[in-house]
């Protein structure tokens, strides 16, 4: 494998692995404190059991997220040293702030996990809220750093080097707002759906089990709210990308030829050689309407940019975009269905079909997150800093990167399988009769 491909693969694999743990690490603490808060308000022991089980799950996910995040902070330098050397002084800021947010999260997670009997109940709940909040903030700062790679600002380019550096400007780069909002909502939607789906599967096998019923109520509520908001944030993001990175937008859509009345493509396989999109359903003028709010709006196609600047592989960007949008709409639809049931019947638990669909939809959020990351990362190629530094120019001179790629892939595969197995045993399995107190089961 050529070094550049090995390095890109290793980075992609590391991010794909880490993003699952970080999404769950951002959203899971919220589920966990909501359960604990409900326990404190109602005195219901099932909520306490749920908070403790979810805390165990959070602990495992957080530990793997923390170490895989450490790997990433080094990998940026190990694989792309010239990128870090060039941009460290500009984007060190979001990374430093992320360091502090992550620090706060780790400290209060320690207090939360081990402090059930050591700190006052109120302090314990507050510690949980701090974990949930700082986890979210920490994700926001990391995504800000990524958004800077898409819309680099805060410097002037002189002879290929940055001068007049403004580190604060990196925090408010044009892509920062829509990227952070979109990613944060995605974390809650993905986690809510995966947790609700897993507990729904258990509930369907053991109807009336309050443990799973309460779990579904909390997880689905959080996931559904996020899933309904996400298409709005997605629309804003797409229009921002069309404005800031029109080439990237054309790659999302597989739009080889630009102009007015640009169609919205659903599905399809881009054929880069013959410059056409095969097998797609095209909605006439829809892309112009969505992006410019006008069928006559001119959308720039791939043909207005030199081919050496096209993202590659194009098919990955286009398909990932379709998968992300499709999964997002499916989740929003499921959320609306649930909301409708609540309004009409005050419960979702008499609709077996909703719960079955929930099981089927469990992985959708994580799939959308992975696809979305491909959209933004592969869509940025061939640049590591959009329009400024090519990914190939940032590469380390270290030979044999295929070895480290295989090494980390094997390591993460091993960890991934182990985590799934442990979560299954420790968190998801129905509690025994002894664990669910009688008075709670009678409710």
């Amino acid at each position: 494998m050529p070094n550049i491909l090995a390095a890109r693969s290793q980075m992609a694999m590391s991010l794909a692995f880490h993003i699952i743990f970080s999404c769950i690490g951002i959203a899971m603490p919220l589920l966990m404190v909501v359960a604990e808060w409900l326990h404190r308000r109602t005195g219901d022991q099932v909520y306490l059991l749920l908070a403790r089980r979810w805390a165990t799950g959070t602990a495992i996910m957080f530990a793997v997220g923390a170490v895989s995040g450490t790997v990433l902070s080094f990998e940026l330098g190990l694989l792309w040293p010239h990128f870090m050397k060039w941009s460290g002084a500009i984007i060190g800021m979001p990374f430093s702030l992320e360091g502090f947010a992550f620090f706060t999260e780790a400290i209060f997670l320690g207090i939360y996990l081990y402090g059930w009997d050591r700190v006052a109940p109120r302090a314990h709940l507050v510690a949980g809220f701090i974990v949930a909040f700082s986890g979210m903030i920490s994700g926001v700062f990391v995504v800000i750093a990524n958004s800077w790679m898409n819309t680099p600002v805060g410097f002037r380019l002189v002879n290929g080097l940055p001068v007049d550096i403004d580190p604060i400007a990196s925090l408010t780069n044009p892509a920062a707002l829509h990227e952070t909002v979109h990613m944060t909502i995605a974390a809650y939607a993905a986690t809510g759906f995966v947790v609700a789906g897993i507990h729904a599967a258990m509930w369907l096998r053991d109807r009336g089990n309050l443990f799973h019923q309460r779990a579904i109520a909390i997880a689905f509520a959080i996931g559904a709210i996020a899933a309904v908001l996400q298409p709005l944030s997605g629309d804003a993001s797409a229009r921002a990308v069309a404005r800031l990175q029109p080439l990237k937008m054309a790659a999302f859509e597989g739009l080889f030829k630009g102009g007015p009345h640009a169609p919205l493509a659903i599905g399809g396989i881009p054929d880069v050689k013959d410059r056409k999109l095969d097998y797609a359903i095209e909605l006439p003028s829809m892309l112009s309407i969505m992006t410019g709010h006008n069928p006559d709006a001119v959308i720039r196609g791939l043909d207005s940019f030199p081919e050496r600047n096209w993202p590659a592989p194009m098919i990955a960007v286009h398909l990932a975009f379709q998968i992300m949008v499709g999964a997002g709409f499916a989740m929003a639809g499921l959320a609306m269905w649930g909301a409708l049931l609540i309004v009409r019947r005050r419960t979702i638990f008499d609709s077996i079909w909703l719960l079955r669909t929930m099981v089927a939809a469990a992985p959708l959020g994580l799939i959308a997150v992975e696809a979305g990351w491909v959209v933004t990362e592969v869509g940025r190629q061939p640049w590591i800093i959009y329009g400024v530094m090519r990914t190939a120019d940032a590469l380390t001179p270290m030979p044999g990167l295929t070895v480290t790629f295989v090494l980390f892939s094997a390591l993460y595969l091993f960890l991934g399988v182990t985590v799934v197995y442990l979560l299954w045993r420790q968190v998801i399995l129905s509690p025994t009769r002894a664990e669910v107190p009688v008075q709670a089961a009678a409710l």
Binding site: T70, P81, M84, F100, F103, L109, G110, P399
Partner: protein, 349 residues
């Protein structure tokens, strides 16, 4: 040459973060080493004590390393890039160790269930705890001994520069220091006199090993790393530092012998901190000898000023929170009933 305040502040923060990492995160690795070496009639109790001591704090302790990395690449991007290129192999191996140590520890703590799986995770955790500090030491040894090539952009050899006796001696030194710190701290984590004595003897043995390996490191540095040797021996501040270091090291050993464990902890932590500062001051102002120093590798003043501000503001949140964490888990309960000697009862308090 006067140092601009922001640069001075950032360098200080880098050194402080690295020091706290070694004193806390380093000791967590040392705990893993004693898990591996647990022996005698109380082996299970030793492992249990180590797990209880590490559990609530190891992740927060670990973040100090991330802070060190972040400060390094924000404030000194060329130095960060040079280290990442030249030390690719040992850093990659260290990362594997970091990943396995942390994951295995949490899998053991939260995996529940069968004893056999727990033992396997425990073994992985302790082996990773043994290997990782050696690699960290090798990397520090390579930086200190001037083994990072002049222009890392064109280096072709990624193995030889750090595969030297002096680098591995520093690796062993780091391992011994971490194990020593862990044993000293663990004497204060239990009320069981026999268990405490186990770690007291381990601490004394590790302290003697630290002294012996320190001698080896100095001997090799004298031969192989003239830059750092000159820094260690020919500066005005180095001799007081070395004397103070020696006094603290001996005081810690004496306090251990006399069972004055709280005193031993302060002296041992001070000793290890001074070892680190001795290195930092000997190398000053170089980050990587002989080409990159804190002046020519520094980010522009505006970046340093903003980073210094962010570090100061962050410290206002961080330090009280970290103190609270340590207070909750590392201070002895004030109103302890007299019967609290049994570990089971203490655990349930």
């Amino acid at each position: 040459m006067t140092i601009p305040f922001a640069l001075f502040f950032v360098c200080g923060a880098l050194l402080v973060a690295l020091t706290i990492y070694v004193l806390t995160g380093g000791a967590d690795y040392g705990g893993g080493v004693w898990d591996l070496l647990a022996a005698g009639p109380r082996a299970a109790a030793q492992r249990d004590l180590i797990e209880r001591a590490l559990g609530p704090v190891w992740e927060a302790d670990h973040v100090w390393l991330i802070l060190v990395v972040v400060i390094l690449f924000d404030a000194f991007p060329p130095a960060f890039a040079a280290i990442m290129i030249a030390m690719h192999v040992p850093i990659t191996l260290m990362l594997v160790g970091i990943v396995l140590r942390g994951s295995a520890f949490s899998f053991r703590s939260y995996g529940g269930g069968r004893d056999r799986a727990q033992r396997e995770w425990g073994r992985l955790f302790s082996i990773a705890s043994l290997v990782t500090p050696v690699l960290l030491g090798v990397i520090i040894g390579a930086i200190a001994s001037g083994s990072i090539p002049k222009d890392p952009r064109h280096i072709t050899d990624f193995l030889l520069p750090w595969m030297t006796p002096v680098c591995f001696a520093v690796g062993l030194f780091a391992l011994a220091l971490f194990a020593y710190l862990a044993a000293v701290y663990l004497t204060l984590e239990t009320d069981d006199a026999a268990l405490r004595d186990d770690f007291r003897l381990r601490a004394i043995a590790a302290g003697i090993a630290v002294g012996a390996i320190a001698g080896l490191v100095l001997l090799l540095a004298h031969r192989e790393a003239p830059g750092i040797w000159a820094g260690l021996t020919q500066r005005v501040w180095t001799w007081p530092l070395i004397w103070l270091n020696g006094i603290l090291a001996l005081a810690a050993l004496y306090a251990l012998w006399a069972r004055r464990f709280a005193v031993a902890r302060v002296c041992a932590a001070g000793h290890v901190a001074l070892v680190l500062w001795g290195w930092a001051f000997a190398q000053f102002p170089f980050l990587i000898e002989p080409d990159l120093d804190i002046y020519n590798a520094a980010a522009p003043p505006i970046t340093l000023k903003i980073l210094a501000g962010a570090l100061a503001a962050g410290a206002l949140i961080l330090l009280p929170s970290y103190r609270y964490l340590l207070k909750v888990f590392k201070s002895r309960p004030k109103h302890r009933p007299l019967s609290a000697d049994s570990p089971v009862e203490r655990h349930s308090q």
